[in-house]
Amino acid sequence: MAAASPLHRSLLGAPVIGGAAVVGFLIAWWVSAKSFDPMRIPQPGDVWDAAVQLATTGYAGGTLAQHTLQSIMLAFMGFAVAAGTALPIGLAMGMSRSAEAVFGPIVAFIRPIPPLAWIPLAIIWFGLGDGAKIFVIWFTAFVPTLINTFTGVRTVDPTIIAAARVHGAGPRRMLLDVILPGAAPLIFSGLRVSLQASWMALVAAELIGAFFGLGRVLMTAAQDIFPGMIVVAMAAVAVCGATMTWLLGVVERRCLPWLKVTP
């Protein structure tokens, strides 16, 4: 058990031990599922059947591809709206004390309310359609990007800013060539938090009321007491969330080639 120095990475063992743990878990599930109530713990076969059904004939009003596409599209739209508003406001707040004084207190008031608590109000205002979801995602994803952009701008090395000014950089060059690149690492970590939160908020909003989407599949499966389908929908949620985070990481490495990004 006690390796010579466990804090040193022993990467060699990682895939083997990890793989063994996963295989062990699957075998344990396979063996033990039969002794549980199938209405509570699905058997691996049930999950497979549910996955096939969802992928081919469809469930809860659509196939896996349709539900997934709808959810991903909505999440991206909400995320785009949030990033598109939070970035400019965050930059303004970072660069001007006055803008900070104007927007700061409003953000401070809204921030403590958990984004998911906006869902009932969003339903009253926008109904069960896409508008309500985009609204909720906007509230969820806005704050992380805003705060990180603001902090990113504020932590740009003042010497660099002074140097740029001495060399005669105008506001435009200052923003594009000095502030944005300097703040970019923090902005990206804000975007990453925002994207994950967007996805979470969307699934929540779809669970509470939707006509379509992965959350809808989850809720329908819960009402039908179809545990196999619940597992499939949860897996789809996880795969989409992981893929989105991974994609943003790729974009980040493209945009910031000078940084060694640690995911």
Binding site: A2, P6, G13, I17, I119, I124, T155, A221, A233
Partner: protein, 279 residues
């Protein structure tokens, strides 16, 4: 978690302007006050103008009245404080469980490589499942009992506890570990007397994030399956289009979230002080 750590970081001015005759501080305070006044005024004016039906946008005054009224008169089966107590009970149970399991797991992952390798694939998979996606299983496994909400709060709060503990443990100064090894400390002593204290600031930051996520997940879960709690209160308010109740509930949720964070920050500060005094 990044943002909360960042929020504490030192904010330096980007540039110093030659201020106007009024002190810059006073001018900024004035701007902030004007901003809040404008937002509130806009809300009042919109609500009073009748452009939007009262059902959609009640005035701040209506919301305050709904809040006060709900303390005495039950809505959705209970008064505001009863709903709040129900929510807080569930939150505490799930949160305590997440901390009690998450911190040791994080320490183990930081210390024992085999444990880390075995646990990581599951952790990386489950991390991406939105906490509320557990609601269907919570309902199947526990019905409407306390187990369901605990599972949801746990799934919301667990990851932040594990990740921050793990990172804190990994950042422990190698020299400290080697020194303790040389002096003959075993695994147990190393974990409890070296890793835990050195990871504590990171752990506390993680616990604060976990509390916020857990509280939010609970509210979300109460929107879907519950027969009490503040989440249930606001979703019932939505069902009967009692918008003032919904907004009053939201304000309560936000306020309690702030109090939870304040309490944790207090604990953090106290631990920090005790540490310095002991050292």
């Amino acid at each position: 978690m990044t943002m909360d750590m960042l929020a504490k970081s030192d904010l330096r001015p980007v540039r110093r302007r030659r201020g106007p005759a009024v002190g810059p501080g006073a001018r900024l305070t004035l701007l902030s006050a004007a901003s809040i006044a404008f937002a509130l005024g806009l809300w009042f004016a919109l609500a009073a103008s009748g452009l939007l039906p009262k059902m959609l946008l009640p005035s701040p005054w209506d919301v305050a009245q709904a809040l006060v009224k709900n303390i005495g008169v039950p809505f959705a089966g209970a008064t505001l404080q009863q709903h709040l107590l129900a929510s807080l009970g569930r939150f505490s149970a799930g949160f305590a469980l997440a901390v009690a399991v998450g911190v040791p797991v994080g320490l183990m992952m930081g210390w024992f490589a085999p444990f880390r390798h075995a646990f990581a694939p599951f952790f990386e998979t489950f991390r991406f499942i939105a906490p509320l996606a557990w609601v269907p299983f919570a309902a199947l496994w526990f019905g409407t009992g306390i187990g369901g909400p605990i599972l949801i709060v746990f799934s919301g709060a667990f990851a932040a506890c594990v990740i921050n503990t793990y990172r804190g443990a990994r950042m422990t100064d190698e020299r400290l570990i080697e020194a303790c090894r040389t002096l003959g400390a075993g695994n147990w002593r190393l974990i409890v007397d070296v890793l835990l204290p050195s990871a504590l600031p990171s752990i506390m930051a993680g616990i604060r994030v976990a509390a916020a996520l857990g509280w939010q997940s609970l509210i979300g879960a109460e929107l879907i399956v519950a027969s009490s709690g503040v989440g249930y209160l606001i979703v019932q308010g939505q069902g009967s289009v009692e918008t003032p109740i919904v907004m009053a509930g939201m304000a309560t949720i936000g306020f309690v979230g702030l109090l939870i964070d304040l309490g944790l920050r207090q604990i953090d500060a106290r631990i920090g002080r005790g540490w310095r005094a002991g050292a």
